[in-house]
Amino acid sequence: MVGDGSATPVLEVRGLSVRYGPALTVLRGVDLEVPAGAIVALLGPNGAGKTTLLRALTGLLPFHHGRVTGGEVLLEGDPVRRTSASALVRRGMAQVMEGRRIFAELTVEENLRAGAVTVRDRRRVVAVMGETFEMFPQLAGRRGDQAGYLSGGEQQMLAIGRALMSSPKLLLLDEPSLGLAPRITEQIAERIRVVGAAGTTVLLVEQNAAMALAIAETAYVLQAGQVAMSGPAAVLRDDSDVQRLYLGDG
C-alpha cells in the first residue's frame, strides 16, 4: 500500500495540539485519518474538543483566539496547518458549522451562492445549485425566501447544501442533528449517506452516537482533548463503554 496514490487519505491529522489564549490547552496530540470516500464519525462528550478540532482543520481558530501548538494536518498528503480558511475551501474542504450558521437575512439562493463563492465558473454554480435543489426539494420552493424563516431542519439542509456548493472532496459536519426532532435527524442522516455515496469524503462530528455510528464506517471517540478510542463503527457500536457512555444503555 505504501506509495500507492489511491491510499493517501483525504485527511490525515498527526499529533495535533491546540491552545486557546496563553494557557488553555484543548487538544493534545490528536491522530486521525479519513480515507478517501469514507464516512468517519467523531464522537465525544461536550467539551471534549470536537468543535475545536474542526476549527483547527478549517482555519477558523483565529476567530476564537486559538492556535495550533503542535502537530500537522495533511490534506491529500499536503501540509495545510497554516493555510487560510478561504484557501482551504478552494482546495476542496467544506464544512457545516455547529448551529448551522446560515445567513438568516439572505435568501436561500443567496446562501447557496455564498457557498459557491470560490467557484469562478457561473454555469457551474447554476448546475451545482440545480443538483442541490434536487437533493433538497424542500429548499427549491423557497429559494427566494429569507433563510432565517426556514424551519430548523430546512436550515440544516440549507447549511449542508451551501457546503456542497463548492463541490468539496471533504465535507466536515459539526453536530448536524443538534436541536432537531428524531424524524428530521433521520432525514439528515439519510442525506449525509447519499452525499457519501456520491463520492464525497465525510467527517461527521456528533453527540448523537447512534445516528453517527449508523452511517459511518469508522469512528473516533474524543475525550478531554485526546483520542480515547477508535475503530470500525460496528465494533464501537458493540463496545460496552461506548454503549454506556454514548448510546444510553445505562
Binding site: T58, F103, E110, A114, V117
Partner: protein, 297 residues
C-alpha cells in the same frame, strides 16, 4: 405650482448629494457593520485633490476626477490595512472611534496642505442654469442626479449579482461563517473601504459645485448631514441611502420654502431632517429599506 416644482427639483438634487455621501457610509457598514466617520474626510480630501489635479494643474476635469477616484480608493485600502485591520475582532465601537479620529486627522491634513484661502473648484458645467418653463434647473443639480442614479445602479448590481458583493454582505452578517464558505474577510473589508473612498470625490465635487465652487476643509462635516439620510433609509441598504437622501433633501428644501415657524428662530430647516429621522426610527427601527433582522418564534 411653479414654486413647488422648483423646490421639488432643488430638494431632489440636494437629496442626491446626501445619497452620494450616504452610499459611501453604507458600503462599509454593509461589509463590517461599522459606521465610518472618516467618510466625511474622504469627501473633503477627494474634492481638494480634484481641485489640485484639475483646477490647479490643469488636467481635464473628468480625467482629474477619475484619477482622484482611483487614488482615493487606494487611500481607503491603505487606511483600512493600517488602522482598521488590526482591530478585527475588537468591539465595533472601538473601530467607530478610530474612524472619528481619522476624520479629524484628514481634515487637519487638508488644512495644512491647502493653506491659501478662497480656493474655487472649476467644474465643466460651471454655474450654468437652464430654464424649463417657469422652473430653473441648475446644471450642477442635473449632474448630481445623473451621478447619483448611475452609482446607485452600479451598487445594486454589485451587491446583488457579483461574488465580491455577496461575499461582503455575508461577511457583515457572520464573519466566521463567511470565512467558512471561502470568503476572504480581509478582502471584503479592503474592497469596501476602496469603494467607499473611491466614490467620495464624486460626492465632494457635487457638494462643492452646488455651493458655487468654494472649497472649505469643513466640507467633511457638512457631509455628515447625510447621517439622517442613511439612518432613515436603512444603514445597510444602498437603495435606502438614495431614498433617505431624497426624502431628507426634499424635507429640508420644502420646509425652507413653505414652513413659517419664525417664532422658532431661523434655520429651522436644518432641524427638519433629524426630526424626520427620529420619527421614522420610532416606526421602523431598521430604517425604510434596511434589512429586517429575522426573528422566529
Amino acid at each position: 405650482m411653479d414654486k413647488f416644482l422648483q423646490l421639488l427639483l432643488s430638494g431632489v438634487a440636494l437629496g442626491g448629494i446626501y445619497a452620494l455621501v450616504a452610499l459611501g457610509f453604507v458600503v462599509i457598514y454593509k461589509a463590517s457593520g461599522a459606521f465610518n466617520f472618516a467618510q466625511g474626510g474622504f469627501v473633503t480630501l477627494g474634492v481638494y485633490l480634484v481641485y489640485q489635479f484639475g483646477t490647479d494643474w490643469g488636467l481635464p476635469f473628468w480625467l482629474a476626477l477619475v484619477l482622484v477616484m482611483i487614488i482615493m480608493a487606494a487611500v481607503g485600502m491603505f487606511l483600512e490595512r493600517l488602522v482598521i485591520r488590526p482591530m478585527v475582532g475588537k468591539p465595533t465601537f472601538t473601530v467607530v472611534l478610530i474612524t472619528l479620529g481619522l476624520l479629524l486627522i484628514i481634515e487637519q491634513v487638508v488644512r495644512s496642505v491647502w493653506t491659501s484661502p478662497g480656493l474655487v473648484l472649476e467644474v465643466p458645467w460651471g454655474n450654468g442654469r437652464s430654464r424649463l418653463g417657469e422652473v430653473t434647473l441648475r446644471h450642477s443639480d442635473l449632474w448630481t442626479m445623473v451621478a447619483g442614479a448611475a452609482l446607485l445602479a452600479a451598487f445594486f448590481v454589485f451587491f446583488r449579482y457579483s461574488r465580491t458583493g455577496l461575499g461582503m454582505r455575508a461577511t457583515a452578517l457572520d464573519q466566521e461563517a463567511a470565512a467558512a464558505q471561502g470568503i476572504s474577510v480581509a478582502r471584503s473589508f479592503a474592497v469596501s473601504w476602496a469603494v467607499a473612498a473611491g466614490v467620495a470625490p464624486v460626492a465632494g465635487v457635487m457638494l462643492v459645485s452646488r455651493g458655487g465652487g468654494a472649497l472649505s476643509p469643513a466640507i467633511g462635516f457638512v457631509a455628515l448631514a447625510a447621517f439622517p439620510a442613511m439612518i432613515l433609509g436603512g444603514l445597510d441598504s444602498a437603495g435606502g441611502a438614495v431614498l433617505g437622501g431624497v426624502l431628507i433633501g426634499l424635507a429640508e428644501i420644502m420646509s425652507q420654502g413653505y414652513l413659517d415657524v419664525s417664532w422658532l428662530g431661523s434655520n429651522v430647516e436644518v432641524v427638519v431632517p433629524y426630526v424626520l429621522m427620529v420619527l421614522v426610527l420610532l416606526w421602523r427601527p431598521e430604517g425604510l429599506l434596511g434589512t429586517r433582522r429575522v426573528e422566529r418564534v
